[in-house]
Structure formats: structure tokens, C-alpha cells
Symmetry: C2
Subunit: 314 residues, 2 copies
């Protein structure tokens, strides 16, 4: 007998979040645990989370897991830069054996895309791109009314589009990846560069007086208080966000971008700059409708919510 209930787990760098949806898509249970180190401990944590959620609601029909990194079409996490000792982690198989049920696995940004597509800003859109602006940049793609995964399952690694081959080094080993500019860490880097030569005094003060300690949130805080130099950094940052969105528009021609991740919370701060530079950088801007820009409505739950939909969304 089916219950209509679907569970989803989202493995983050610091915490694992689990939710259960009822047959209408409402979140009827939620729980979180710190993310442990190493694959065996992660399976333990996820199994515990799943059992706890099952106990809370009286069981569920399907289970999905979202994980950060490159996920193959058969649910193997090939590598995850933000998880320790993870390589070729057969998370779906191992968790499935433990719980004696089928477990769907996909990339966390792809899960977030599924969530926004079915229950958030992307409802009704056949062509849209989810962009998660956090420490790095993740992506999930919907095209032709289905999730795009590519031949290996690795589609949507949009943060590693190279936007300047001689740009700053990226932890991925290359230079000038989009996420070096348009993520939270990119915002901090732009601010630290601007802080050289004794500029950006208010932002540096918020970072305790040390220019090297400036992070994205200090710029946001000063900009929200109206600091002109901080607003200039935000403007430059918005241009880099726009550049990547433009490149994705040239390739994919989506009707909508949904911006999520930690930076989306203060998205109104950037929206004007993004729109201005989007028009400046787009090919043939006057000959086409521009894609809509929206901020994710499912917040930090998007990954787990979307993981809960993996069994039914293709």
C-alpha cells in the first residue's frame, strides 16, 4: 500500500537535512544532523536520518539523496570537493542495502532544480536553469520539460565554466572559473582586491580591520547600510553574475533563471546590477525576450525537497 509520502536527504558540507513530503508536496517532517567525515559515517548518518523521519510520519514510499559533486547516472558520487575522503562513493547502493529499499541519488543542485521546478519558482517552465550561488556555484538544468543530466550525469557544472583563462586559480585546479567571481567566495575576493590601497574602509572595519579577513557577508552588510564603495563592489560582482547567465542564455536559451544558495537571501542587492549587465553582455539583446530572473522560494530545504522528488522527476 502506498502512502504518497516521499523522503529526501541532502548531504551538505556541514549538515545533512532530511524532509518528508506528503502526497500534496507539503513538508510534514524535517530533521538535520551534522555531516560526519568519511563514507561509512555518512551512510550511518543518512540511515539514521531516514529511520527517524520514517518513525515520525509512519513510513514513506520513496527515498532520494542529493550530494554535492559529480554524480553518475547510476548513483555513484565520483568526487565531492567539500566532503572528506569521498571518491567513487556508491551512496545509493550502500544506503539502499542498509534500508532495504531503492534509493535515488543525484547532484544537490540538480535536486534543487527539481524542487523549484515542481514546487517553487519554476513551476510550469519547460526551459530553466537553477543557479546556486554559495561558496561555489552549482547548477541544475531543465530543458524540453525534463531534467538534463548529460551523458555521464555531470551536466550543470556551470561554476567551472572558464570566463577568463588567465584569471585567479580555482581549487578545481584551473584558472578563471565563473565561481571565482560570481559566488560568495568570489564576492569576498573582489572586495579584498578593492580593499588594497586603503579603500573600502567600512567593509574592512566590519572584518575587524584586516583587509585579508574581508568576506562576502561584510560587503553585503556595508552595502545594505548604503556604503558607496561596497555598492561599487556589488556592482562589479553583479557584472560577473550576469556574464555567466549570459553565457548560459546563449547556449541554452532558457525562459527562467532561479537563483538560489546563500547569496540569494540578499539577492535584491544584486538584482539591478545583474539586469543592467545582462543586457550589456547578451548577444542580440533587443531581438529576444529576456529570461525571467527569480530567487529560489524553497530556501535551504530545496536540495532535500528535490531529492524527495527524484523517484518521479526525470
Amino acid at each position: 500500500m502506498t502512502t504518497g509520502r516521499r523522503a529526501g536527504l541532502d548531504v551538505g558540507g556541514t549538515k545533512c537535512l532530511g524532509v518528508v513530503l506528503d502526497e500534496h508536496g507539503a513538508v510534514i517532517a524535517e530533521h538535520r544532523e551534522p555531516t560526519p567525515k568519511g563514507p561509512e559515517s555518512i551512510i550511518d548518518t543518512l540511515a539514521g536520518l531516514a529511520r527517524r523521519l520514517a518513525d515520525a510520519v509512519g513510513g514513506f514510499d520513496t527515498l532520494g539523496v542529493g550530494v554535492p559533486g559529480l554524480v553518475t547516472r547510476n548513483g555513484v558520487l565520483r568526487a565531492a570537493p567539500n566532503l572528506v575522503d569521498i571518491i567513487d562513493f556508491r551512496v545509493g547502493q550502500l544506503l539502499g542495502e542498509r534500508l532495504d529499499m531503492k534509493v535515488e541519488v543525484d547532484n544537490d543542485a540538480t535536486c534543487a532544480a527539481a524542487a523549484e521546478w515542481k514546487a517553487g519558482e519554476g513551476v510550469g517552465e519547460d526551459e530553466f536553469v537553477m543557479v546556486t550561488l554559495g561558496t561555489g556555484i552549482g547548477g541544475g538544468l531543465v530543458s524540453g520539460g525534463r531534467l538534463m543530466r548529460g551523458v555521464n550525469g555531470f551536466a550543470g557544472e556551470i561554476g567551472h565554466m572558464v570566463v577568463d583563462p588567465d584569471g585567479p586559480p580555482c581549487p578545481c585546479g584551473r584558472r578563471g572559473c565563473w565561481e571565482r567571481y560570481a559566488s560568495g567566495s568570489g564576492l569576498g575576493r573582489l572586495a579584498r582586491e578593492a580593499a588594497e590601497g586603503k579603500r573600502l574602509g567600512n567593509v574592512v572595519a566590519l572584518a575587524g580591520g584586516d583587509p585579508d579577513a574581508v568576506r562576502g557577508e561584510h560587503v553585503q552588510q556595508a552595502a545594505l547600510a548604503g556604503d558607496v564603495e561596497a555598492l561599487e563592489v556589488i556592482h562589479a560582482f553583479g557584472r560577473w553574475v550576469a556574464l555567466g547567465l549570459v553565457n548560459l542564455t546563449n547556449v541554452l536559451d532558457p525562459g527562467l533563471f532561479v537563483l538560489g544558495g546563500g547569496l540569494a537571501g540578499s539577492g535584491d542587492l544584486y538584482l539591478g546590477a545583474i539586469r543592467e549587465h545582462f543586457t550589456e553582455l547578451l548577444y542580440a539583446p533587443t531581438l529576444r525576450p529576456h529570461p525571467r530572473l527569480a530567487f529560489a522560494s524553497l530556501g535551504e530545504r530545496a536540495g532535500a525537497y528535490g531529492a524527495a522528488l527524484l523517484a518521479e522527476v526525470h
Copy 2:
């Protein structure tokens, strides 16, 4: 009664090429005319070409047209940088009225993708990208076993991905578009820059002694003859080609790139450099199978061949 015969017309900057395919996909008629100026003359030429092809084979069932530029989902060419006086050209409707039959219309690189997908290097591939390297760069995308067109029909404008926002100006009005580097005109530009300071003597000699007259074909010619300086330019050029292919791989994760257009004819010259830099620039290159690189097998007929398939390929 259906004949199984399908006709396709390809509108190029200098000539219009028409073909008829039999029920097995063999080209059984072919004809070309110079591309005239202005929309009415183009309709006249296409109608004449279609009638001539019909007379040659005794009629056909379907007709498709490939045109350069932004084509809407209902067959309107919004703008074509390489055709004079073309804006909002309802080529499908006008030609259809003239010939009293339905006419399918799509972007020429999308047509080339359809052709390679159904009858060329892409047969059997569900995820591939067609890249036409000519004066500019065009693109056609297949994902999930169907042509991707985006919400407006403008997907695949890959030549205008910005790979350096402070790069050289592009006729499209922006700076640092991929096709400023990785097209035939990009190769010429790289060579002219290298020719400054009295370098690249053999290439300049092939251009009649004038460094400003250097074009891509002079570099190719010198490189094929073993000129070391020309080969260095080819190497740098291959890195730019690789950069765009890497960005497309990060976004789309295709199993195959088919390289077509004028530069594909001497593709073996670049292939080594492209492969080397592809591995250097790709995110997580050791954790994934690399997409196959192939050169288009349908040559200059690809656009017309693919246009002939538009009625049946979705």
C-alpha cells in the same frame, strides 16, 4: 501518396544550396544559386530552387529551410548578421504560401546538427554538440535524444559565449566572444597579433607581405608546410577552441562534439592542440570519460541535408 523524398534548402551568406533525399537518406538531387540581397529576392530564389529540385526528381513530400541567425520556434528569422536587410523575415510562411506547402525553418547550425545526428558522425548519440567553425561559430545541440532549441528557438548561439569580458570587440557589439578566438576570423586575428614585431615571416609572405592581410588560411598553409611559428599560432588557437568545448562540457556533459564548418577541413592540424588543452582546462578531467571529438562527415551539404530532416526530427 507519399514519395519518401524530402527536400532541404540552406541559405548561406553567399549561396543557397538545395538537396533532395530519397527514402533511405541518399542525396538524389542537388542545386545551388547565389544568395540575393533582400527578403523578397531570397524567397524568389528559394522558390525557384525548390521547383527545380521538384522537377528533377518528380516531387517531394516535405521541405525544410536552414537560415543563419536567430530563428523563432515558428520559423521567423529575427535577424541574420550575414544577410542584408533581414529582420523579422517570415521565411517559412512566405515560402510556404508561394509553394502551397508547409515549410519547416530552423537555424543552419541546428540543421547541421540534425544532419550529423541522423546521417553523420552523431548517429546513435543522445547527447551531442555540433560546433561549426567558420567565419564565426555556430552550434546545434542534441540532448536526451532530441534537438534542443530553448524557449525562443535561440539555443546553441555558442559563438557568443563570452570567454574574456575585456577581450577584442565582436561585431555582435560585445567583447571577448568565443568566436573572436576560435573561428576562422579568430585564427587570422591571433596570427596578425603574432605577426607584430616582424614575427611569423612565412605566414606574412603567404599574405603578400602585408601583416594586416594575414588570414586563417595563410596560417593553415604555413603550418601544413611545417612552419614552426605558424604551428605555435595553431597551438594557441587550439587552446581557445578547447576552452569553449570545455565550457560546453561543464554545462551539457555531451558524449560527442562534431566539429564542422570551413575549419573542419584541416581539422587534423588542430586536433592534438585541442585535446591537450581540453584536458588542461576541464573540471575534474581524471574523473570522467572525455567526450569524443569528430569532424563532420556531411561537409558543406550538412545544412541543407539537415533542413530536409526538419519535418521528422524533433
